[in-house]
């Protein structure tokens, strides 16, 4: 299914695109799909996502503040994870190991130098995601725009993707879920993880919940944007500052980059 997306990119009907362009009042943009995408960004998406963009994050650990977890709280609120409730008879410690966490704060210390770093960890949205390779049903997939996510309709809950993820980014929903948000369906027995606020992407919003929350705190440690657009703020920053991928030895070409680790 993931490959179909790519095929569709190539075969986009130009006249349909042209119509869209007219509708958006930017006829000139027809020739440049990238520009077009930004031009129609305010409305719900009506065309398949394309590989013209690749969404990603840049995390500047120098700006990430120890003790702040605004991004985590914002993610929980955005995706309805704050509505998770511990089953009554479950011990709090075990529940901590079983509840869904899409983004988490990690604090590290270098063994040699003693330098302490804090950073948020989430799905790294690899270009070559191991979770997609191992999924037996194809439920774990990479969207054309680089977002790695789970099609919960196909997920059988085998958890092989969780075994394969080098970032421990995935969660299995261990308990029945009630009161889901309309924008974020989630239910017992499937695997889930950060999807770069995919509903925000499809409705043309600018950023993700964690990015907004970090900015609201005044830290601006997380930058969201299109890695394929050389003019985007994230590409500009990546060009200027040293950054790396976590576990770059695996050559997964992650969409989430870190500076200062």
């Amino acid at each position: 299914m993931k490959d179909e997306n790519e095929a569709i990119d190539e075969a986009v009907d130009p006249s349909r695109r042209a119509f869209m362009g007219v509708a958006a009042g930017v006829t000139a943009a027809v020739v440049a799909p990238g520009v077009l995408l930004h031009a129609v960004a305010a409305a719900p998406r009506s065309e398949p996502v394309t590989a013209d963009v690749r969404w990603g994050l840049l995390i500047d650990t120098a700006k990430c503040v120890d003790g702040c977890s605004a991004c985590v709280a914002a993610c929980d609120r955005e995706n309805g994870l704050d509505m998770q409730s511990k089953p009554e008879s479950q011990s709090p410690l075990k529940w901590d190991s079983q509840k869904a966490v899409w983004i988490r704060k990690v604090k590290l210390q270098d063994n040699q130098t003693g330098r302490v770093t804090t950073l948020p960890m989430m799905c790294q949205h690899c270009e070559h995601p191991p979770c997609v390779d191992v999924c037996p049903t194809g439920a774990s997939f990479k969207r054309a725009d680089g977002i790695v996510m789970v099609d919960r309709h196909l997920c059988i809950g085998c958890r092989y993707c969780m075994m394969a993820c080098p970032y421990k980014a995935r969660n299995f929903i261990h308990e029945a879920v009630h009161g889901q948000l309309t924008a974020v369906p989630r239910g017992k027995g499937c695997v889930e993880s950060c999807n770069l606020c995919v509903h925000r992407r499809d409705f043309g919003e600018e950023s993700t919940a964690c990015v907004d929350a970090c900015a609201a705190e005044g830290h601006h440690a997380i930058v969201f944007g299109d890695l394929k657009d050389p003019a985007s703020p994230i590409s500009q920053l990546l060009k200027d500052m040293p950054s790396r991928q976590i576990r770059e030895d695996l050559s997964l070409n992650t969409g989430v980059r870190y500076s200062g680790v």
Partner: protein
């Protein structure tokens, strides 16, 4: 011969019964449309009633692939669309989960004895951000979280 006659008459009774029930249900459906919703102003649902009644599962199944894998959110078949137009409210204006056995989706599926597990994952009431960019932005600006909390979504399977 006798068994053949018996079988034929049973089939006939069954057919008549099905037709009768469908007529009755057609009457029932009217009370399931939310006043002022998109459906209230339409002659029928997004497809002619007969078609949507028989094929809605195919429509939303097709839509789900477009939405999940391609990010298309403007197709006319949408599960949240079902909920938006066909939800009903109790006296305190609290929405009733649409898959409850006496509600729009739940009643029919209970009658047809079809296990409905859409709402294991999907919100069974209009919950939180409506799938509309301006509305999302407005809610966020106003600092409003999820609009309503459903009490209980879906039967455990």
């Amino acid at each position: 011969m006798a068994t053949a006659v018996l079988r034929a008459s049973l089939v006939a009774v069954g057919l008549v019964w099905t037709l009768a029930v469908q007529t009755v249900q057609a009457e029932d459906v009217k009370r399931y449309v939310v006043e002022g919703s998109r459906a209230a102003g339409l002659e029928s649902c997004v497809e002619p009633t007969e078609r949507i009644r028989r094929q809605h599962m195919e429509f939303i199944k097709h839509q789900r692939i477009a939405t999940v894998h391609e990010g298309i959110r403007t197709e006319k078949y949408s599960l949240s669309g079902c909920v938006d137009c066909h939800i009903s409210y109790d006296q305190e204006r609290v929405p009733r989960p649409i898959n409850d056995p006496d509600q729009f989706c739940g009643a029919c599926h209970a009658f047809a004895a079809i296990d409905l597990n859409c709402f294991d994952c999907h919100a069974a009431v209009p919950n939180g951000a409506r799938l509309d960019a301006t509305a999302i932005a407005a809610h966020r600006a106003a600092g409003v979280g999820p609009l309503v909390q459903s009490r209980r979504d879906g039967e455990d399977h």
